[in-house]
Amino acid sequence: MNKSLKAKIRCKKYRKKILEMSQSVSALHIGGSFSSVEIVDCIYNRFKKNKDIFVLSKGHAGILQYVILNDLGVIKSKDLKNYQKKNGFLGVHPDYGSPGIMASTGSLGHGLAMVAGMALASKNKKKYFYVLLSDGELQEGSVWESALTISSLKLNNIIAIVDNNNLQTSSWTTDTHPTLYPIDKKFKSFGWETAKCNGHSSDDIYNKVKNRSLKKPFALIAKTIKGYPVSFMKNVPKWHYRAPNKIEYLKAIKEINNL
């Protein structure tokens, strides 16, 4: 089986697991998690070597990170079952110290600076630092402070991926700040190498990252669809938070199975 097909199968499994969990707890950020599935799958299953580090700066997709870490055997199934529950230790946003979690995130605009510090500590070592940001997160000034610092310090082992789903909590990111776009040119003007890709194509993500020059820090703008691939979730703001009811759940599972 080729790598692309394997990735597709894994991503189906991850989305179904998230939906399954949505039947016992609410406030899941399904939309923003679904837009990142192929990206985070690619980081964990295709890029990341043991010593490499991944920080989920868009911490609201924590459930996705837990599901993948569970699949990799880092988070135990019994702990995943207690997600958001009284006796559990996994909350909506990732906490430093939980298995496989390298930084506490949840407030946006923190991940990039922490990754910069980690990369500085490992300067000149063959160790790569992956960080996933949301496009809404780019409205935080701290992101641009860090983007500037990273390129000035030539921390070229940092790979920042932007989940460009064009939506934030209740509005289109393109409406809130139309001048944020095109994102790749912003990063480029801050001294980064950039590329754009289809954020739902594992191969496109993989190839764009692999083909980077390593002469600059690298930002990949991954075009995604919030809620992808479920028809009634795609680009619908309420799925930023909402957990599906039983009928919606079954419909979503069916759509994913038929992909």
């Binding site: 910069a116 490992s122 701290s142 402070e145 860090s146």
Partner: protein
């Protein structure tokens, strides 16, 4: 103090390659230039980017390094507050955040450059320790603690320049988390921290002329506070005078009075803290403090009135 900070940290950094210092657009003091030249990757000026400075210190610490963040206190603590809270304290990382020129030291720069409530803010963050050395000698001990022993976040509140050393020959050793007797006496007790300790020593001499004997303590560790030490002071003295370059809310005044109430202390406590007001005046630091009723003359008169 900033020169001593730079020189002392540099000494530690030569021995310990895990020590990093990230500064935010601040003029180099003491040996900072040598540090920067010798270890360009361990001395970084991130520019006017305090949020990144704190976030990077968290990242360095997660990777096992021993980072210091250094700038003027208001920019070290207030500007990047959420990074201090989430990245450093919530993750409980051994990062030292150095707030230089704290309190009313930058007396001509206006309220934007003063930190009259920094201890109050830092104290309320879980995991955060606060050290405010009274002179360059205590600062050396504090740096040694931060470099070699500290395993959690520290807010190190320091002065700027020209501070005299009062504790060079003090026989009581500096110890993290302990109130330190730095001058002995019998009648009244001064509790203080930071460079404003100078007032306590000036007053000690003045009061001596009136046959009033004064004991002075440096409460250099504001958190965790040495409540055992404080109870011993409650037992020994019927008049306690607090002098602090900080708001009456949340600093030494609050710490001592809350504990006095809980322990039914029946002596008198007089506090000289900053009012809960922004400072819109200029001049020397003493000029500013005087506007908030913190002057040697007022303290002296008040003590004489209380004793006689």
């Amino acid at each position: 103090m900033r020169n001593v900070f730079a020189d002392e940290l540099y000494k530690h950094a030569i021995k310990n390659k895990k020590i990093y210092i990230l500064v935010s657009d601040i003029s180099p003091a003491g040996n900072m230039v040598s540090f920067q030249k010798k270890y360009p990757y361990r001395f970084l000026n991130v520019g006017v980017s305090e949020q990144t400075m704190i976030g990077m210190c968290a990242g360095l610490s997660i990777e096992g390094m021993k980072p210091f963040a250094y700038t003027i206190s208001t920019f070290a603590l207030y500007r990047p507050f959420e990074m201090v809270r989430n990245d450093i304290c919530y993750q409980n990382l051994p990062v030292t955040i150095v707030g230089m020129g704290a309190g009313t030291i930058y007396s001509t720069l206006g309220g934007t450059h003063l930190t009259q409530e920094d201890i109050s803010i830092a104290r309320s963050i879980p995991n955060m320790s606060i050290i405010a050395p009274c002179d360059p000698t205590e600062l050396k001990d504090a740096i040694n603690y931060c470099c070699t022993k500290s395993k959690s976040p520290v807010y190190l509140r320091i002065g700027k320049s020209g501070e005299k050393s009062f504790t060079k020959n003090c026989k009581n050793k500096w110890k993290f988390g302990k109130i330190r007797k730095i001058s002995s006496g019998n009648d009244i007790c001064f509790l203080t921290f930071g460079p404003i300790v100078k007032k306590a020593f000036d007053l000690k001499d003045n009061l001596k002329a009136q046959n009033i004997s004064t004991e002075i303590y440096s409460c250099h560790t504001l958190k965790p506070f040495d409540y055992n030490g404080l109870r011993k002071i409650f037992k020994k003295f019927k008049l306690i005078v607090i002098i602090e370059d900080h708001s009456k809310i949340g600093g030494l005044n609050s710490i001592v009075k809350t504990h006095a109430y809980e322990n039914r202390y029946n002596g008198k406590i007089i506090s000289y803290s900053l009012k809960d007001e922004f400072i819109h005046c200029y001049g020397s630091q003493d000029d500013l403090l005087e506007k908030h009723n913190i002057s040697n003359k007022k303290i002296y008169q008040n003590i004489i009135g209380k004793i006689k």
